[in-house]
């Protein structure tokens, strides 16, 4: 009897295990947190140097169209207008997400509503493989297949936003698809049963009930897809043409933030204006990634179905 009393009042192996486990998991998350903080700090300080050390006006950086950081203009001012790249980055991102969404939804619905067993068996590996193909390979296929194809169909050089969109479309497809699948799966079964029981066809059920209920999740999926497109570098760089010009259409060569960053970074020296200017581009990428994530949280909070 006393023995049990003793046991109840003292800590046991289980309590030690719990402290240990808790400490371990806290340690891991702290580590991840520090990692993110350090990289954020790093990019922010480098990215802000353009404005603090080189005294470039932030406004000019955002709205001017001339990007030529190595050369001073007639007024002795560095030419670092990032607008063309910002516009191009947004264009390819939005367009590729727009093109990819119907395909992603089609696949997601097929895997969840139409043929869950067979569909998953065939399409799950398809999605995983699409993720698995490296961006270098996507880039080279883009360069050797898509660019000539566009050139033959539409004329011009073939390089440009359209080529970027085609490549990115395939690259963001798996992201949007798998996240959409998750959100569609999260729609409770009885929603469907209820709708079908009322005599609705499968499509009416999908369209009016399932997709409605899954909308916040699908929006999240699209935004994550956009985030992926926004940050993709190597593949886009090979097909976009890398001309720092305002895009005049889908077919003229232009340049995204990432492509400018990747091509330029090795050829500039740390601490100089051209290098700092590139880090400012990286900072924009970082901020955009933050914006995308905040959007996701916002949508998640407003229309959350799960919690």
């Amino acid at each position: 009897m006393d023995e049990i009393k003793q046991e109840l009042q003292s800590s046991s192996r289980a309590t030690h295990q719990d402290y240990f486990g808790k400490a371990l998991s806290y340690l891991c998350i702290t580590f991840v947190g520090l990692l993110v903080l350090s990289i954020l700090y790093f990019i922010t300080t480098r990215g802000l140097a353009t404005f603090t050390e080189n005294h470039v006006s932030l406004w000019k950086f955002l709205i001017e169209k001339n990007w030529n950081p190595g050369v001073l203009d007639s007024h002795g001012q560095p030419q670092i207008g990032a607008l063309p790249m910002i516009v191009t980055s947004f264009s390819v991102t939005v367009l590729s997400a727009l093109v990819a969404t119907p395909f992603a939804l089609g696949v997601a619905l097929f895997m969840t509503e139409i043929a869950p067993k067979r569909g998953t068996k065939v399409l799950q590996p398809v999605i995983e493989l699409l993720v698995g193909i490296p961006s270098v390979v996507y880039g080279f296929i883009g360069l050797s297949v898509i660019v000539p194809l566009i050139r033959h169909t539409f004329g011009g050089t073939g390089f440009g936003i359209l080529a970027g969109v085609v490549v990115l479309f395939v690259m963001v497809l798996p992201t949007i698809t798998s996240l959409s699948i998750d959100s569609i799966k999260a729609v409770p079964m009885y929603y469907r049963s209820a709708s079908l029981a009322l005599g609705a066809t499968r499509w009416q059920t999908i369209y009016k009930v399932v997709l409605r209920a899954a909308t916040p999740g699908i929006m999240t999926a699209i935004i994550f897809g956009m985030a992926r497109a926004f940050g993709e570098a190597l593949a886009v760089q090979m097909v976009i043409g890398n001309a720092v010009l305002m895009p005049h259409g889908l077919l003229t060569p232009s340049s995204t933030l990432t492509s400018q960053l990747t091509t330029g970074i090795g050829n500039t020296t740390m601490g100089t204006l051209p290098n700092n200017a590139l880090w400012s581009l990286a900072l924009i990428l970082l901020l955009m990634s933050l914006v995308f994530n905040i959007l996701v949280r916002f949508i998640g909070k407003r229309g959350s179905l799960k919690k």
Partner: protein
Amino acid sequence: MQDYSFDKTHIIDIPIEKAMTTENLQVFYGDNHAMHDASLQFSRYRITALIGASGSGKSTYLRCLNRMNDRIATVKGKIMYRDMDINSPKINVYEVRKHISMVFQRPNPFAKSIRENITFALKRNGIKDKTELEERVESSLKAAALWDEVKDELDKSALALSGGQAQRLCIARCVAMKPDILLLDEPASALDPISTAKIEETLQQLRKNYSIIIVTHNMQQASRIADYTAFFHMGHVLEYDRTEKIFTNPQIKATEDYISGNFG
């Protein structure tokens, strides 16, 4: 549903040996006061049923008894077990749960083999001896009246069992720990009548060696198996007495109405 007074209650003391008692137990979910001043005594080697409508607080109360509410609610008051307040923060909850074990509403076998479902926790508690483990598997399965059905397929996945079998496995899993008290939270509510009957039979067997507290919304079940019955209503215990008394001669209006099916 009409409003019943919470002031008038009829709660008896248990004259015989007590398994555990609660004193002024209160539960809060954030600002929501879910359980008011529940003071009950549970008899050793008897079955006590907690009845009441959905949301009456009976499950909440039961979950306090082995501190399963720790993470989700604030529990005030005393829970006395072996002359100790096990609701005190100094108490090692893991040890508490070895002595006061719980079976849940929905069968929840681990995604392991039948054998491992029973031996998993035992091994973690330091029982290494193979024969001892085998013995416990057999005895607990027998106690839960499952042995004959599964003795040839102990290495099969527990997920392949039927609902009733799975629930009895969950009972066996608890029994194998040789606890003092078994808490059961509507163990048969998700099961068909035949499985329910088997579970009840099992409980009657277990009663010889264990103190059992069972939450049920099924009054017939309570009247069939329980020695004592407590009636919960809107977070209050209104009546607690011997089961025959509750069902034949309730002292409180709310109990009477509930039993005769006027609400609930």
